[in-house]
Amino acid sequence: MKRHQATLLENRRLGPGLYSLQVEFEDLGDVEPGQFFEFLTGARFLRRAFSVADRDAMRLRFVLRVVGKGTAWLSQLTEGSKLNLAGPLGQGVAMPSEGPVMLLAGGIGAAPLLYLARKLNEQRVEVDALLAAGTKEELILTEEFGSLCRKVILATDDGSCGQKGLLTDILPALPAINDIQIFYACGPESMFAALKRLDLGKPLYAFLESRMGCGTGLCMGCGVLGRDGRYHRVCTEGPVFNLEEIEL
C-alpha cells in the first residue's frame, strides 16, 4: 500500500453535503477507473475510502458526500491542507474493447464514472451517460460528463431537472439502449437491485461502496455477498463487480 502526503488544492461545494476535493500528489503512478484512495481523518480511527473522480497530471479529484464525522471533517478542510492518503487501492475496471457503452449514475455514483468516461474518451470508445439524482441540486458533474460523452441524459426523482423518475424507470425507454455493449453503474444499493431486475441482457459492471476496515484485504470487513454464497472483499476483489456475480 502506497502512502502519500498530498496537498488539498481546492475544496468546492457541489450541492447539499456534496464536496469536490482537488488533491495534488508529489508522486503518482497509474490510476485506473474504479480504484480508490483512503483518507486519514482527524475525526475517526479508520481511513475513509473515496474513488477517483478525475485526473489531471499529478492532481486527482475526489467527490464526497457528508454522511458522518469523518466525511464532515474532510469537507471542512481548507485549501493548502496536507492530507494523509493511501492508494491507489482496489482493482481497476475491465475496459471494453468496443462501444458504445453507457454509464449509469445514481447521485454521488457519478464520481467514479466520470474518470471512466475520461479514459473511454481517450480510447475513443463512444460513451453515453444517464445521470440521475434526487433533486437538481444533487445532480453533479453534468458539465464534465457533457464534455466527454456522446449523449448525456439527466433525470431527477422530483423532476426539477431532466426527466422525472428513477434511473431504472427511465433507462428501459431510452432509444439508444439497444446499441449499448456494456453498462457501468454506480449508485445506491436499491439502484443495483432494480438494475438486476431490469435484466438488460448486456454485461453490467457495478461500482460498489462498502464500509471498509482496512481497504487492503486484511480484515474481511467490507465483503459483498456473492452468488457463490461467499463474501467477496470490495476493497481488493472489487470495488467493481459484474452485477450478475453478486447478491443484493
Binding site: M1, R3, R44, L46, R211, G213, C219, M220, G221, C222
Partner: protein, 299 residues
C-alpha cells in the same frame, strides 16, 4: 541491540505480534510479517464460515467495532489451499476457533503435525459468534477443559486468548495456566452495541460487535498488570496499541509479547513504524525488552 524475547524455549525476534483477524492468512504484506516477532492467522473453524451480514464495521475516533464473525475458509481449505501458500520467516501461529471440545480436537489433530505451524492460539473469546467462542471462554471450567484437551493433543506452544466479557478473567487465566497453556493472550474485543436511532435497531448486521482500538488500552493494561502478577505463565497483551510507547507500557505492566490489531487496519505497515520506535527506545535506554517486562514500580 537485540529485541528478542523468549517464551519458554520459543524465541521471538521482537515482542511484536500481528493479531488474529487483522492480517488475513499471512499471504500478503509479508515484508511486514517477516519483521515481526510472530504472526497469528485469522481464526480457523472446522467448517468454512461465511461470517456475518453487513454492516460489519463501525468506528469512532479511538475505537473500532467489528462484527466480521470469523469469516474464514474452514479447516479443509486452510490446510489444503492456504497453508501451502504461506511463506513467512516469522513464527506462524494459527488461531483456532472451536465451539466445543470436538471442534478443538478436530482442528488440533488435523494441524498439529504441520511443520510450518509454530503454535496455536486457542480462540476462547470471539464475541462475534453465537455459540462457542466467548461462551466457552466465560467459564474457568470450560477454559480448563479445552486447554487440557489441546495440551494432550500437541506439543506445540498453546496460547489461550481470553475474554473479560461477563466473567472473571483472573479465574479463566488460572484455569488455562493450570491446564498447560504456554501463554495467555489478554484480551479479545469487548462486547459492544451501536444503535441506529432512526431505525431503532442495532447498526451492525450481526446486532452487536467487538470493541477494540486505543480507547480500550488503559483497561487492558490494568488486566495485564493484575493477571501477570497472579499467574506464572507469560502474558501476551492485546488492546489498542498504536505506538512504541504503548508497547513499552504493556511490557512494564507485565506482558512478554504485545499484539498489534486495529492499527493494522489504518496502516498495514504500522508494525514497521512501531518496531523502529521500539528500537530507538531500547537503544537510548541501553536495555532489552526482557529487562523491563513486569518492571512497573509502585507509586
Amino acid at each position: 541491540m537485540s529485541l528478542e524475547v523468549f517464551l519458554g524455549k520459543a524465541r521471538f525476534r521482537n515482542p511484536l505480534v500481528l493479531a488474529s483477524g487483522t492480517f488475513g492468512y499471512g499471504l500478503t504484506h509479508t515484508h511486514v510479517i517477516d519483521r515481526m516477532g510472530a504472526f497469528v492467522t485469522k481464526g480457523i473453524t472446522v467448517q468454512e464460515c461465511v461470517g456475518n451480514p453487513q454492516p460489519r464495521i463501525w468506528d469512532s475516533r479511538e475505537t473500532v467495532i467489528n462484527s466480521v464473525g470469523l469469516e474464514n475458509v474452514g479447516l479443509k481449505r486452510f490446510k489444503e489451499e492456504t497453508l501451502p501458500l504461506i511463506d513467512i520467516s516469522t513464527p506462524l501461529y494459527v488461531n483456532l476457533a472451536g465451539v466445543d471440545l470436538d471442534d478443538f480436537r478436530i482442528l488440533i489433530e488435523s494441524l498439529s503435525d504441520e511443520e510450518k505451524i509454530a503454535g496455536f492460539e486457542l480462540n476462547l473469546s470471539c464475541p462475534n459468534v453465537k455459540e462457542g467462542g466467548a461462551a466457552l471462554g466465560q467459564s474457568a471450567d470450560r477454559v480448563g477443559k479445552v486447554t487440557s484437551l489441546a495440551r494432550s493433543l500437541t506439543t506445540k506452544p498453546l496460547w489461550a486468548k481470553l475474554t473479560s466479557n461477563f466473567c472473571d478473567v483472573r479465574e479463566t487465566s488460572k484455569a488455562a495456566a493450570d491446564a498447560g497453556a504456554d501463554a495467555l493472550v489478554l484480551i479479545n474485543t469487548l462486547n459492544a452495541l451501536v444503535i441506529d436511532i432512526k431505525g431503532r435497531k442495532p447498526f451492525l448486521g450481526a446486532g452487536s460487535g467487538g470493541l477494540s482500538g486505543p480507547a480500550i488500552k488503559p483497561y487492558v493494561l490494568y488486566i495485564v498488570k493484575e493477571v501477570s502478577r497472579q499467574i506464572n505463565i507469560p502474558v501476551i497483551a492485546s488492546g489498542g496499541v498504536t505506538s512504541g510507547t504503548d508497547v513499552i507500557e504493556y511490557l512494564l505492566a507485565g506482558a512478554s509479547l504485545v499484539q498489534l490489531g486495529s492499527i493494522n487496519l489504518v496502516d498495514p505497515e504500522a508494525g514497521l513504524r512501531i518496531l523502529e520506535e521500539l528500537k530507538r527506545y531500547f537503544e537510548q535506554e541501553g536495555i532489552s525488552p526482557a529487562g523491563i517486562i513486569g518492571r512497573l514500580e509502585e507509586r
